[in-house]
């Protein structure tokens, strides 16, 4: 990873959104369809008010085998993770500790769990995480996050926010 120093180093920005799950489905929909629905978000649309926006996104699905290597997880700032891959796994340590930058958004997908009452255990985590219990929750969380880093909506602070996030990633993966 090249060290980010200025906003020009990180913009235009392509957000990487990951789905950490061993399932091909998310709330009954194929992951591919969910990715497609999220990518329809106005902040990524490049039309209307967002014409010429420097923000874009790519979507990836990672299985549980990638959890062990934190460097696979850290460079993604919007992380949707199935609840079973949070509890009693290395991901729990990543979230509880300082592995993932605080500015990264972690959204736990509560569905088809092998654990009893996973939500309560997850909410007991010291780090702030969001909970999604439906596809609408997933889309809302994504939209909210993209708005935060959208230069057309938030201007320069959004660019600064991404630069700070990239610096935090650089610090973690290169040190």
């Amino acid at each position: 990873m090249n060290e980010p120093k200025t906003k020009q180093d990180v913009w235009p920005h392509t957000e990487t959104v990951i789905f950490l799950t061993d399932s091909e489905k998310c709330f009954g929909n194929s992951i591919r369809d969910v990715m497609s629905e999220i990518s329809d978000c106005e902040h990524l649309s490049n039309s209307g008010h967002h014409q010429g926006n420097e923000l874009s996104a790519n979507f990836l699905r990672f299985g549980s085998e990638r959890i062990e290597d934190s460097d696979e997880i850290v460079p993604n700032s919007l992380i949707f993770v199935h609840c079973d891959l949070v509890l009693d796994t290395k991901m729990y340590d990543h979230i509880k500790g300082n592995t993932i930058p605080g500015s990264s958004e972690v959204v736990v997908l509560i569905e088809d769990s092998n654990h009893s009452d996973p939500e309560e255990r997850i909410l007991n985590l010291t780090r702030s995480v969001e909970i999604a219990q439906s596809l609408d929750d997933v889309k809302d969380e994504a939209r909210r996050y993209f708005k935060r880093i959208c230069p057309k909506c938030r201007g320069d602070p959004a660019k600064g926010w991404v630069l700070d996030w990239k610096k935090a990633v650089y610090y973690r993966v290169e040190n």
Partner: protein
């Protein structure tokens, strides 16, 4: 040989009195078909056009030149018959003679056209070196056990190698070679703006993207490497 020709009262060459001429023409006709195929294969395999490295296409092209020669000979025969007001009927010997002349004519057309249209790039060594660099980068990416975020230099090297290839191919005289150069430029432009995690999903053999855009970029990359394999290994 032309001096040996005799013409019948109907105006056509008299094949009965010049059997050796017919035999010689037949030998030349067969040799022309073989030479047409050899030249087409040599020209195709040395070109930067991926389509000209497929044997099926080369056979069609070689057959095409021979067929054009034969058709033009046939048209000339029918036109001559019409002008001399003779019925356009030929015996077996005359048909064989016509096919031979047509084959020779097809070979001469190929020789004439190849003076202008043959792809004779002078940067073959540069292209080979750049293709090797790309193959090496991809092997190192595949073999690496590191997370994509640590492979930035390898992705940069892959991009640089592809840009060098594009510079070589842009000098190609074939549409296929120049189209490949354009495809590479467009792909590199998009790829270079992607974060390492996405780049890995596009080029790493053990990864496969779910998202449509990344899937298309991966398919385009496979198409580019397959075309490069064709034009770089045949020579």
């Amino acid at each position: 040989m032309v001096g040996l020709l005799q013409v019948t009262s109907s105006g056509f060459i008299d094949l009965d009195v010049t059997p050796n001429y017919v035999l010689g023409t037949s030998v030349l006709g067969v040799a022309s078909v073989v030479l047409t195929a050899i030249f087409v294969f040599r020209i195709g395999k040395s070109s930067y056009s991926p389509a000209l490295h497929e044997e099926r296409n080369l056979l069609i092209i070689a057959a095409g030149y021979t067929i054009i020669g034969i058709m033009m000979t046939a048209i000339t025969f029918f036109a001559y018959s019409f002008l001399l007001e003779q019925p356009p009927v030929a015996n077996q010997e005359e048909i064989g003679f016509g096919l031979s002349i047509g084959s020779i004519f097809g070979f001469l057309i190929l020789m004439y056209i190849s003076r202008f249209g043959v792809d004779t790039p002078g940067n073959r060594d540069e292209l080979q070196a750049a293709v090797s660099e790309v193959r090496q980068s991809r092997c190192e990416i595949d073999d690496s056990t590191k997370a994509p975020i640590h492979l930035t230099k390898l992705y940069d090297s892959l991009e640089n190698g592809l840009e060098d290839i594009s510079a070589c191919l842009s000098q190609s005289s074939t549409d296929g070679g120049r189209r490949l150069a354009r495809d590479i430029d467009e792909w590199v432009e998009v790829f270079s703006e992607k974060p390492e995690v996405s780049q890995a999903a596009i080029v790493h053999r053990s990864r496969s993207p779910d998202e449509e855009e990344l899937t298309e970029l991966r398919e385009e990359f496979e198409s580019i490497t397959a075309r490069l394999d064709k034009i770089s290994t045949d020579e």
